[in-house]
Amino acid sequence: MSPMPTSDTPRGAASAAFLAGARTAATSVFVVVITVTYVGFGALAHDFGFSVGWAMLSTLLLWAGPAQVILVTALGSGTTLIELAVAVGLSSVRLLPMVVALLPLVRPARSRFWQLVVPTHFIAVSVWVEAMRLAPGLPRDDRIAFCNGIGVTLIGAGTLATAAGFYLSAALPLLFGAAAMFVTPLSFLVSTARNSRLLLEKAALGLGLVIGPVFAFYKVELDLLWTGIVGGSIAYAVHRVRAAMA
């Protein structure tokens, strides 16, 4: 291995930082989580009748697990277009605070909107956690390249895993397809529970699990959307009441 290039060669330093990010991602726990999750997504897309190219492109373009699962589930079962767009939008709102929290740490001085479009596209829970943890320890000029290295590696792993899940679901016994698909609700449930630090989020998770089936059973129109709004608002109200009593 050659020594790290010195920082007076900007291009060399940037590519070294990119490779450091790629190495970080490839050895993190998230590469396993991403692979397993997207094998499940690939199997799901296969069973809803989408093509492998569509499934891979959705991983590249959306790079947001819940939004992709909502898209496939709802498109496949003929939900109205407006409900679908709003449900996808709501499920990805969490990206906004993540971008807002990370950008001040990694953006170069005097950066323009278009320079940040690609780096922020990589932001998902996994990339965000690693970038927030490690980027502050690097020289500011290297941070974006480092984040890009993490992002490209994980989004690449996710896209390949999508294809793998798609073909495995088509080729292997029915039980494999069922098991691969079951990864999605399992990993969503435990990772949402793990990220729920506030009572507000725990309550919203529990309420959504109960209200969702009730609305679906009574065939409420826009049931996913109402599950989010009703469950989330009750949880928020509980949080406000507790805050007022404290």
Binding site: V32, V36, V117, L205, G208, L209, G228
Partner: protein
């Protein structure tokens, strides 16, 4: 997909990419002007969490394709065991997924 009027790739762009990606763009525009603990962000987080919970419940109770071949009781037992394993084993997501999958496969083989 028979009752769907948009071409799948157009749907991917308009109903998937745009509604999701706009939050990343908005994040660049908003920059440091938004407090992560602000009331509106808290409400939005609660709504998004409940919505994801609704998606979880829907996949377990009204599953697509291959998963529908596994009996409902096995699916419910598997998701419950996965969650309990997650709580019991140091809140490890990996342990939760592993145990849930093991229960699903064992249950499907025994009762499927």
């Amino acid at each position: 997909m028979t009752n769907f009027i948009l071409e799948p790739y157009l749907a991917l762009l308009l109903l998937g990419f745009l509604p999701s990606e706009m939050w990343r763009w908005l994040g660049i525009v908003v920059g440091g002007g938004l407090d992560e603990g602000s009331e509106i962000i808290l409400w939005v987080r609660a709504v998004a969490t409940a919505l994801v919970a609704g998606v979880i419940a829907r996949i377990v109770l009204i599953p697509p394709g291959a998963l529908a071949s596994v009996p409902l009781t096995v699916r419910l037992a598997a998701i419950a065991c996965g969650f309990l394993a997650f709580l019991a084993i140091r809140r490890s997501a990996f342990a939760g997924v592993l145990v849930g999958e093991a229960v699903l496969v064992a249950g499907a083989l025994a009762f499927g």
